[in-house]
Point group: C2
Chain length 196, copies 2
DNA sequence: GTCTATACAGGGATAGAC
DNA sequence: GTCTATCCCTGTATAGAC
């Protein structure tokens, strides 16, 4: 049970991830050095390699973790009821989830191109699963006659772009509260897909 | 009139800009080296400094140029007629202009944080002018009763995010033509702002 | 105008002491 | 588990020859 003096692997590991997330989000993956991450954690650069094999793994783990959290949370969302209700829940979920972790969102959308050839498809597949979830709601709504859209795939992309855009400008304590923003987006999205 | 042998300043300068644009768009500003740009142009790294004082100036010039082109083209757009017609023209203009230069768009939206403290506000001001142009159309439409929206500023941000998202997935020769995409977005945007 | 050569700082990652 | 020290590479930018 007793741990070696000075050993804090269980706490330092997460702190490395947190520092990397913070710095990648602020300055971009390519612009951040391992030395900067180490300084943020309060250790020497060499010590980082006890927690990650390399810089790329740090990025990949953070993006994969984010997408998995997103999909896991989505899976817990009530998927019953008529399409308009499902769509409304999706919109609120998306805005809420993304607004709660702006750094992870930012990294996940900006650093895709910095993934290696092996890691990229993994993240891409997770992202596509999320888009498909929205598209299925839209398709169900079109089939039921609740929505009217020429192309559900394109509409799904358009809506996700619109919703994710919130994180680029939303700031707690700004002109509008998150609840107000949610309200406005729900109304706008419903109208966009032709929900009466 | 005779130019020094080997002198091609008038042609090499633009080639440096083009190479920087291509590489910044593909790999990101921070990940691209001056050596890579030089290799793309076919000169040695040192020669680049005949055309730009430094790497940052390359980024700034390309972003400023892009935003100025955008605003200039927007200024030429017919701004007469009722708000729904104006909005439709704006949507078609935005999609068309952005789809025609995906690299410049990509750099302009991704590399904002890599601008220095002096350069950032310049680009930000240009961007805001563009957003304001859309917001004015929305406000005019609300005033005239053509549109229904709780917040024109937020709607403008939402629509621009949605429209700009097109450049992230649109590929010439894909499932839909640009004209089809435009059609669909025009319809979706009009509905989103409550235009009957 | 472009080249070669180079200065100098900083990058990622590893080795071995403690 | 973390440190110091270090390897080797690459980064931006400049100087001076041609």
């Amino acid at each position: 049970m007793a741990r070696t003096q000075g050993s804090r692997s269980d706490v330092t590991g997460p702190r490395v991830e947190a520092a990397a997330l913070k710095l990648f989000a602020r300055d971009g993956y390519a612009a951040v050095s391992m030395r900067q991450i180490a300084a943020e954690v309060g250790v020497q650069a060499g010590a980082l390699y006890s927690y990650t094999p390399d810089k790329q793994s740090l990025l990949f783990a953070m993006m994969k973790g984010h997408m998995e959290d997103l999909l896991e949370a989505l899976a817990k969302l009530d998927s019953s009821g008529p399409p308009p209700a499902r769509l409304e829940r999706f919109v609120r979920f998306h805005i809420g989830f993304h607004a709660a972790r702006p750094e992870a969102v930012f990294v996940s959308y900006m650093e895709i191109r910095n993934l290696t050839a092996e890691n990229f498809p993994v993240i891409e597949a997770l992202r596509r699963r999320y888009e498909t979830a929205l598209e299925q709601i839209l398709r169900a709504g079109r089939d039921s006659g609740d929505f009217a859209m020429p192309d559900t795939k394109l509409a799904a992309m358009a809506l996700i772009a619109m919703l994710t855009g919130v994180t680029t400008w939303f700031r707690e304590g700004g002109r509008l509260s998150l609840a107000e923003v949610e309200e406005i987006y729900v109304a706008m999205v419903k109208k966009a897909v032709g929900a009466g």
